[in-house]
C-alpha cells in the first residue's frame, strides 16, 4: 500500500495544524499547571504572612529569607511523611477521594481566561462547566469522609456536601445577573462585555450579586467563617482528619486551587478580568501598556487578600445558622437580584 | 440580647452561726450530737439517719435558705474517733450571706448516707468523688460511679489506711503491662518488608 495515496497533502497540512494546536494546548496546560501550582504554594505563604502580621506576629521566618522557601519545605515534608491509612478504612475509595477532589478543582483551570486569547479551552459554556466540576469535587469530599471510617470525618463530609450543594445554588443565581448583562456563558465574552460596558466592571451594577457571590465563594471553598466541614475546634479537621502526607497534600492543593478558581471567577465576572475600566484608563492612559495578565493576577490576589483578611477577623458560624443564611437569605436575595436585573434591562430597552 | 449591668449591691448579713446551730437543735433535738466552734466557724455534728431531712430543712426554711452547697467531702478519722467517717457539708446562703457546716457521722460497717442530689444538683459530682475516694455509698444518687480514678481501681485512696504510694507501689499498672506485652509481640514483626 502506498501511504501517499491515502493521505492527501491537504490532510497532511490539517494533521500538522492539528499537531501544532495540540502542542500549543499542551504548552498552555504546562504553563498553567506550573504557574498555577507555584501560585498555590505561594498562596499558602501569602496567607500565613498576611494573617501573621494581622495577628502581630511574623509568620514563617526560618526557611530562606523571610521564610520565602517555606512552601517548598512544607511540600517536601508532606511528600515524605509516612502515609497512614486507617485499618478500618475503605481503602479503594480512600485512595480515590483526594484524587477526585484535586482533579475536579484542577480541570476548572482549563476554562479560565488569564488574558485575552490565553485560555486552554475557550468553550462557550465556561460558567456551567465550572459549576459542573465544582459539583464533582463534592464527591471527593463526601467519599473521603465516608471512606475514612471516622465519625468526625463522616460528619465533616456530610456538612461539606450539604454546604457546597446549597451554596452552589446561591452562587449560580448570583451569576445569572452577570450572564444576563453579558449575554453569554463564555468567560472571555463576559470579560469583553464588561470592558465595553459603561461601568467597566460588573461589581458596580451587580453589587447585590457581587456580595452574594463573595459570601457564597467563601462558603464554597470552606473558608472561615464558613469552614464548618473542617471546623478545627469541633471536628478537628473534618473530612480529612484521617488523611496524612501525600494524600493530605492533595486535599490541601485542591482547596487552594479551588480558592484560585473562585478568585478568578470573581475577577472574571465582577472585576473585569484582564481589562481595566475605561475611566481608569482615561485618567492613567499609560496603564494600557501593562499586559492584561498582570491585572488579572493582581485582582485575583486582591481577592485572596480578602479571603485572608476575613479569616483573620471573624469567628465561625454554626452549621444550622450557616445553612439558614444560605437558604433563607442568599438565595432569595440572589433571585431578587435576577428580577431586578431583568426589570432594569427591560426598562432600559424601552427607554433607549 | 441581654444586657449585663454592674451592681455593687449586697444582701444584708444573715443569722449568726451559733443561732443556726440552735435552730437545728431545736428542730431535730435527737439528731444533733455536738456543736463545735473553731476560728469563728461553727460545725454541727449530726447522726446520719436524718441527715437528708436536716439538710432539706436548711435548704427549704425561708429564713435560712442555704441555696449554695459550697463543698461536700468526707473525713476519715481512722481510729482516732469512734465513728470512722464524717461527711462534711459546707453550706452558704447567697441570699442572707450566712454559713454553716454540717458533719454527718458515718460508721465504717455501714458506710451509707442519703444523697443530697435532690436538694442540690451540684452535689452530684461531689458525692461521686466522695464515693471514689472514701468508699462511702450515697443512697439515691442517680449515677454513683468512680469519677477521678479508673473504673477498675482497687481501694479508696483518701482513706488513711491507703498508703501514699498505693498498694504494692512497685507494681506496674495494668495498662503499662499491656503496652509492654504488645511491644514485645510487635518486636518480632518485620516492619520493613
Amino acid at each position: 500500500m502506498n501511504m501517499a495515496n491515502v493521505i492527501s497533502p491537504s490532510t497532511v497540512d490539517a494533521l500538522i495544524k492539528f499537531g501544532i494546536d495540540v502542542a500549543i494546548i499542551l504548552l498552555k496546560i504546562v504553563i498553567v499547571l506550573a504557574i498555577g501550582l507555584l501560585h498555590v504554594a505561594y498562596a499558602t505563604y501569602f496567607e500565613r504572612k498576611v494573617i501573621g502580621h494581622m495577628q502581630v506576629r511574623l509568620g514563617p521566618m526560618r526557611v530562606g529569607p523571610h521564610g520565602l522557601l517555606q512552601p517548598f519545605a512544607d511540600g517536601i515534608k508532606l511528600f515524605f511523611k509516612e502515609d497512614i491509612i486507617p485499618a478500618q478504612a475503605d481503602k479503594v475509595v480512600f485512595y480515590i477521594a483526594p484524587i477526585i477532589f484535586m482533579a475536579a478543582a484542577m480541570v476548572n483551570l482549563s476554562v479560565i481566561p488569564f488574558d485575552a486569547n490565553f485560555v486552554i479551552a475557550d468553550i462557550n459554556v465556561g460558567l456551567l462547566f465550572i459549576f459542573a466540576m465544582a459539583g464533582i469535587g463534592v464527591y471527593g469530599i463526601f467519599i473521603s469522609g465516608w471512606a475514612s471510617n471516622s465519625k468526625y470525618a463522616f460528619m465533616g463530609g456530610l456538612r461539606s456536601s450539604a454546604q457546597v450543594i446549597s451554596y452552589e445554588i446561591a452562587m449560580g443565581l448570583s451569576l445569572v445577573g452577570v450572564m444576563m448583562m453579558a449575554g453569554s456563558l463564555n468567560l472571555s465574552d463576559i470579560i469583553r462585555a464588561q470592558g465595553e460596558s459603561i461601568f467597566g466592571m460588573y461589581a458596580i451594577p451587580q453589587f447585590i450579586g457581587f456580595i452574594v457571590f463573595v459570601i457564597a465563594a467563601v462558603a464554597e471553598t470552606n473558608r472561615t467563617p464558613f469552614d464548618l466541614p473542617e471546623a478545627e475546634s469541633e471536628l478537628v479537621a473534618g473530612y480529612f482528619t484521617e488523611y496524612s502526607s501525600f494524600r493530605f497534600a492533595l486535599f490541601f492543593l485542591g482547596e487552594y486551587i479551588a480558592m484560585i478558581l473562585m478568585a478568578s471567577l470573581c475577577t472574571i465576572c465582577f472585576l473585569g478580568g484582564w481589562t481595566l475600566p475605561w475611566y481608569v484608563l482615561k485618567i492613567f492612559p499609560f496603564l494600557s501598556y501593562v499586559p492584561g495578565v498582570v491585572w488579572f493576577v493582581l485582582k485575583v490576589y486582591a481577592f485572596f487578600f480578602f479571603y485572608y483578611w476575613i479569616r483573620a477577623t471573624v469567628p465561625r458560624y454554626r452549621y444550622d445558622q450557616f445553612m439558614a443564611i444560605g437558604w433563607k437569605i442568599l438565595i432569595p436575595v440572589a433571585i431578587g437580584n435576577i428580577l431586578l436585573t431583568g426589570l432594569v434591562k427591560i426598562i432600559l430597552k424601552e427607554v433607549l | 440580647m441581654a444586657v449585663t449591668e454592674v451592681v455593687a449591691g449586697l444582701h444584708p448579713a444573715g443569722i449568726e452561726q451559733e443561732k443556726i446551730a440552735e435552730m437545728i437543735k431545736e428542730k431535730f433535738p435527737e439528731q444533733v450530737i455536738d456543736v463545735t466552734n473553731f476560728r469563728d466557724q461553727v460545725a454541727v455534728i449530726i447522726k446520719k439517719n436524718q441527715s437528708f431531712s436536716i439538710l432539706k430543712y436548711l435548704h427549704d426554711e425561708p429564713v435560712l435558705s442555704f441555696d449554695h452547697l459550697r463543698d461536700l467531702t468526707a473525713i476519715d478519722w481512722s481510729n482516732k474517733k469512734e465513728v470512722r467517717f464524717e461527711v462534711v457539708y459546707n453550706l452558704l446562703s447567697t441570699k442572707y450571706r450566712h454559713i454553716i457546716r454540717i458533719k454527718a457521722q458515718v460508721p465504717e460497717n455501714d458506710a451509707k448516707i442519703a444523697s443530697v442530689v435532690p436538694i442540690w444538683a451540684g452535689a452530684n459530682w461531689h458525692e461521686r468523688e466522695c464515693f471514689d475516694m472514701f468508699g462511702i455509698q450515697f443512697v439515691g444518687h442517680p449515677d454513683l460511679r468512680r469519677i477521678l480514678l479508673p473504673e477498675d481501681w482497687e481501694g479508696h485512696p483518701l482513706r488513711k489506711d491507703y498508703p501514699l504510694k498505693g498498694y504494692e507501689g512497685d507494681k506496674d499498672w495494668p495498662g503499662f503491662i499491656e503496652v509492654i506485652k504488645r511491644s514485645q509481640e510487635l518486636k518480632e514483626f518485620e516492619w520493613h518488608d
Binding site: 495577628q55 460528619m155 452549621y319 | 449591668e5 476519715d76 475516694m133
Partner: protein, 489 residues
C-alpha cells in the same frame, strides 16, 4: 379523622456516639466528653474527668503546710497566683495569723493580675474555639506582659509560688510598679481591641446569645460560682461576701448578667477585666509602707540575717559538746548527717572536729543545751575549745542561736497547728476555690480538701449542652472556663 399509619420500620436509626477528647483541640485539656448525637443535636453528654488526677489532696496530707504550697500552683496553672493566695489565706485562718497590710495589698494586686491573665487566656481559647483566631493572639500578647510582670516579682512566670503563709515571698520593686502602671495605662485600650473583633460581631452573637442558658436558681443549685454564676444574675462574689486580703479596702463592682447565657457570661468576664484594672489602680494608690511578712515567729520562716553570725562566719566556728551538760541521749548522734559524733548511751558524746561539717544539726537537736557554738573555734585543739566554751556568750550571738534553732525547727517540722477545722474560700478567676483543712494538732494537715470550681462546672456541662448542637458544646466548654488540672487535682 384519619389516623396516620405507622410507617414500616425498614431502617433502624440509632444515635451517633462520638468521643470528644481526651485529645481534642477544644476540650481545654484532657477532658473526655462522650456525645450521643441525633444528627448534630445532642441527646446525651457524659463528661469523663480524672486523666490529670495527681492526688493533690493525698499529697497535701503528707507534706507540711509550708511544703504543700507549690502543689496549688499545679492545680489551676493558668492562674497559679490566685490559687497560692487561696491556700495562704486558708492556712492563715487555720493558724490564726494575719498578713500585714502591705502584703495584703501586694497579694490583691497580683491576685487581680492573675485574674486578668486567666480571663485573657479564657477569652483567647473561647474565641479560638468559636473561630476568631486573631483574638487568641491579641490576648496572648497581653498575657505575656502579665507573665513578665510575674517574672519580675518572683522569678517565675507560670508556677509562681509567690505568696507565703503570713505574707509574700519578697517585696515588690520600684521597677515592677513602673511597669505595672504602664500596663494599667495601656490595658483598657487593649480590651477595646478584643471587643472590636467580637463583642458586636453578628457571628459571635449568633454563637453565644441563647446558648447554654441557665436560670439563677438552677445555677446556684448546680453549685456554680464565679463569673459562670454571675452571668445568671446572682451577685455572689466572695471578694464582697467575705472579704479577704485587701478587698474590703478597695471599691469595685460585681458585674452580673441577666439572661444566663454564654454571651452574658462572656460580658461578665469582660467587665471583670475592667474591674480588676480598677482594683489594681486603687491598690497601687493605697499601697502602704511596712512589712511584707507577718510578725508571727512560730508560723513563718524566721529572718535569715539574724543568724548570719553563725552561718556566714568571719572566723569560722566550731561545735563542741559540753561534757557536764550532756546526758548522753544520743539524739545528736543520730541526727548528725556526717556521723562526726561518737559516744555511748548515757555517757557524754564527743565531736570529731575533723569530720564535722559545721551544719548545726546537732545544735538544734540537743535538748539539754549541751552543745555549744564556739566562734573562732575551728581548727583549735580540744583544750582550747573547753576554755572558749566557758566564756560568756554575747547577746547577739545568743539571738542568732535562737534564730538558728527556729529556722531548723521550721524547716524540719513546720509549725504545729491546734486541733480544728476551717473552710476558707477565695474568689479565684474561675469561681470559688475552697480549702478545707482538718488539723489534728500536728504539723501536717490531717485532711486537706480542695473545692475546685472547675470540677463543679465540668459537672454542669451536661445540663448546659442538652438539646444544643455539636458546635455549642465547644461554646459551652469555653464558657464555664475549666482547667482540667484543677478539676482533677
Amino acid at each position: 379523622m384519619i389516623k396516620m399509619q405507622e410507617p414500616e420500620k425498614i431502617f433502624e436509626t440509632r444515635e451517633l456516639n462520638v468521643n470528644m477528647g481526651p485529645q481534642h483541640p477544644a476540650t481545654h485539656g484532657v477532658l473526655r466528653v462522650v456525645l450521643d448525637l441525633d444528627g448534630e443535636t445532642i441527646v446525651r453528654l457524659t463528661p469523663y474527668v480524672g486523666y490529670l488526677h495527681r492526688g493533690i489532696e493525698k499529697l497535701g496530707e503528707n507534706l507540711s503546710y509550708f511544703q504543700a504550697l507549690p502543689l496549688t500552683d499545679r492545680m489551676d496553672y493558668v492562674s497559679a497566683m490566685s490559687n497560692n493566695i487561696g491556700y495562704c489565706v486558708a492556712v492563715e485562718k487555720l493558724y490564726g495569723i494575719e498578713a500585714p497590710p502591705r502584703a495584703k495589698f501586694i497579694r490583691t494586686i497580683v491576685g487581680e493580675l492573675s485574674r486578668i491573665s486567666n480571663h485573657l487566656l479564657w477569652l483567647a481559647t473561647h474565641a479560638l474555639d468559636i473561630g476568631a483566631m486573631t483574638v487568641f493572639l491579641y490576648c496572648f500578647r497581653e498575657r505575656e506582659w502579665i507573665l513578665e510582670l510575674f517574672e519580675m516579682i518572683c522569678g517565675a512566670r507560670l508556677t509562681v509560688t509567690y505568696p507565703r503563709v503570713g505574707g509574700v515571698r519578697n517585696d515588690i520593686s520600684q521597677e515592677f510598679i513602673d511597669h505595672l502602671v504602664k500596663f494599667l495605662a495601656e490595658f483598657p485600650s487593649r480590651i477595646l481591641e478584643y471587643e472590636t473583633l467580637i463583642d458586636q460581631n453578628r457571628i459571635w452573637l449568633k454563637r453565644t446569645v441563647g446558648i447554654g442558658v441557665i436560670s439563677a436558681e438552677e445555677a446556684i443549685n448546680w453549685g456554680m460560682t464565679g463569673p459562670t454564676l454571675r452571668g445568671s444574675g446572682i451577685p455572689y462574689d466572695i471578694r464582697k461576701f467575705m472579704p479577704y486580703d485587701a478587698y474590703d479596702q478597695v471599691e469595685f463592682e460585681v458585674p452580673i448578667g441577666t439572661a444566663g447565657d454564654t454571651y452574658d457570661r462572656y460580658r461578665c468576664r469582660m467587665l471583670e477585666l475592667r474591674q480588676s484594672v480598677k482594683i489594681i489602680r486603687q491598690c497601687l494608690e493605697k499601697l502602704p509602707a511596712g512589712p511584707v511578712m507577718a510578725d508571727a515567729p512560730k508560723f513563718v520562716l524566721p529572718p535569715k540575717d539574724k543568724m548570719l553570725i553563725i552561718t556566714h562566719p568571719v572566723n569560722e566556728i566550731a561545735y563542741f559538746i559540753d561534757e557536764k551538760a550532756c546526758k548522753g541521749c544520743g539524739m545528736c548522734l543520730r541526727a548528725c548527717p556526717a556521723k562526726a559524733i561518737t559516744g555511748e548511751k548515757k555517757k557524754p558524746h564527743k565531736i570529731d572536729q575533723s569530720l564535722c561539717l559545721q551544719c548545726a544539726t546537732c545544735f538544734v537537736t540537743c535538748k539539754f543545751k549541751a552543745l555549744k557554738i564556739i566562734p573562732g573555734g575551728k581548727g583549735q585543739p580540744e583544750e582550747k575549745l573547753v576554755e572558749l566554751s566557758a566564756q560568756p556568750v554575747a547577746d547577739e550571738f545568743k539571738k542568732a542561736q535562737e534564730a538558728l534553732v527556729a529556722h531548723f525547727d521550721f524547716i524540719k517540722k513546720g509549725p504545729k497547728v491546734p486541733e480544728g477545722e476551717v473552710y476558707v474560700a477565695t474568689e479565684v478567676p474561675k469561681g470559688e476555690l475552697g480549702f478545707y483543712f482538718v488539723s489534728d494538732g500536728t504539723h501536717k494537715p490531717y485532711r486537706m480538701r480542695v473545692r475546685s470550681p472547675s470540677f463543679i462546672h465540668a459537672g454542669c456541662l451536661e445540663r448546659l449542652c442538652k438539646g444544643h448542637l455539636v458546635a455549642d458544646v465547644i461554646a459551652n466548654i469555653g464558657t464555664i472556663d475549666i482547667v482540667l488540672g484543677e478539676c482533677d487535682r
